[in-house]
């Protein structure tokens, strides 16, 4: 790809999604965009970029989606889900006992594996929370992955990635050569197309935010801005989950790590006492 074509696409992606594409990632650009070029009948990436320069909005959307979509699997990395089940959920059941409701936000829901993993955990714990109302909101910048998430249909490969067989048998049904998630789980998650760089207020306030493996694609300033905006959507005792390779340290003072809980962060309120309650703290 010609350097000025690369720069054009990189700048467009930065503006639209916050994705930072450095020169060493040009292979990624080529491998992700070739299928888009083929689908649209372009001879190569040169033609594709030429069309982008003509401000083709639908192509720009396709290119952004192709570059920001990442493979996902159920119970990815396991630990955060165990932490949610064993620490945060019991804390929520105590702290929200009077209003019997809480809200979870998956900020990069992708094709739905993360919100559905949380839905499965909640369903498995349903006996402990009769009459509770729980919202799970899944957002993503990509319309295409959200369609897949809403459909709740997964290939045999996808359904085997991370999902224990007992849970697969319990919550999935075979539909031709795909596996369909149980409608009761699908009904627990609400999906919305949302750009993390845009205004988040309309999403409302959450008790738990999962935002894993998203910040790694942003530059420092964008990371800081996204973290700050998310901190406003979180309750004072709420928790934020980041990916294993991500941190708030040196980026934002709106969150602080919870000691002993890797990848889990509490809201950092200026002037709050050191022992202020957090849903992420184990008893």
């Amino acid at each position: 790809m010609k350097p000025d074509d690369f720069d054009y696409v990189a700048q467009m992606l930065k503006t639209r999604s916050g994705l930072v594409l450095t020169k060493d990632k040009s292979y990624l650009l080529e491998s992700r965009l070739m299928p888009v070029a083929r689908k649209r009948g372009f001879k190569g990436l040169e033609e594709l970029v030429a069309q982008l320069r003509r401000r083709d909005e639908s192509l720009a959307q396709d290119v952004t989606e192709a570059m920001t979509t990442n493979e996902s699997f159920f119970f990815r990395d396991m630990k955060p889900f165990e932490q949610f089940r064993d620490v945060v959920l019991p804390n929520l059941l105590k702290a929200r006992a009077s209003k019997k409701s809480f809200r979870i936000w998956c900020a990069a829901a992708s094709s739905g594996q993360e919100p559905y993993s949380l839905a499965i955990i909640l369903k498995e714990a349903a006996a402990k929370m009769p009459g509770w109302r729980i919202d799970i909101v899944g957002t993503d910048i990509s319309r295409e992955v959200l369609q897949k998430a809403r459909a709740g249909l997964y290939s045999q490969f996808e359904v085997q990635r991370g999902l224990p067989i007992q849970l697969m048998v319990k919550y999935f049904k075979k539909k031709e050569d795909q596996w369909e998630i149980d409608p009761s789980l699908r009904a627990m998650v609400q999906y919305k197309e949302w750009n993390l760089l845009s205004d988040l207020k309309a999403l409302g306030t959450f008790d738990v935010i999962f935002c894993r493996n998203v910040l790694i694609y942003f530059d420092q300033a964008t990371k800081g801005k996204v973290l700050e905006n998310m901190s406003r959507q979180l309750t004072d005792d709420g928790v934020l989950y980041l990916g294993g390779a991500e941190t708030v340290l040196g980026i934002s003072d709106k969150f602080k790590p919870i000691p002993g809980q890797r990848g889990v962060y509490a809201v950092n309120k200026p002037g709050a006492p050191a022992g202020a309650p957090s849903l992420g703290t184990g008893s």
């Binding site: 490969f157 085997q160 990635r161 991370g162 224990p164 067989i165 048998v169 049904k173 075979k174």
Partner: protein, 122 residues
């Protein structure tokens, strides 16, 4: 080092599985059918069994039922690995004492994830 018995009548599948399991630092033993696998277990119980369903002489599910009756036969973690991919087969396997179930085709990522789920990887 943990041990894994690979039970499959296909030499190619055994080779692929052996390569993946060696990378996960398993010592591997191979068997071509359920009877050979049972004999291998009587000689020495492995930590894990990667088990095909359809095989000549003795199939995977019959082997699993026999294995679980052996002294110490409740110890090995058994992971089915088969083209049978309907709920009925999966349930039958779980009832017979399978710990996990892989539907072929599989790749190293799936095998690794399944082995991690049943606590075979540290």
């Amino acid at each position: 080092m943990k041990s894994c018995l690979i039970v499959d009548d296909s030499k190619v599948i055994r080779m692929v599985a052996k390569k993946i399991l060696s990378e996960l630092e398993f010592a591997t033993v191979e068997a071509e059918d359920g009877q050979q696998a049972l004999d291998a277990c009587k000689a020495e119980m492995p930590d894990a069994v990667l088990l095909d369903w359809n095989m000549p002489v003795m199939n995977g599910i019959d082997y699993l039922r026999e294995l679980r009756k052996l002294p110490g036969g409740d110890k090995p973690v058994v992971v089915f690995c088969t083209t049978e991919n309907d709920i009925e087969h999966i349930q039958e396997a779980i009832e017979a004492g399978a710990n996990e179930y892989i539907m072929k085709p599989f790749d190293s990522e799936i095998l690794q994830a399944k082995f991690a789920q049943v606590g075979l990887l540290d």
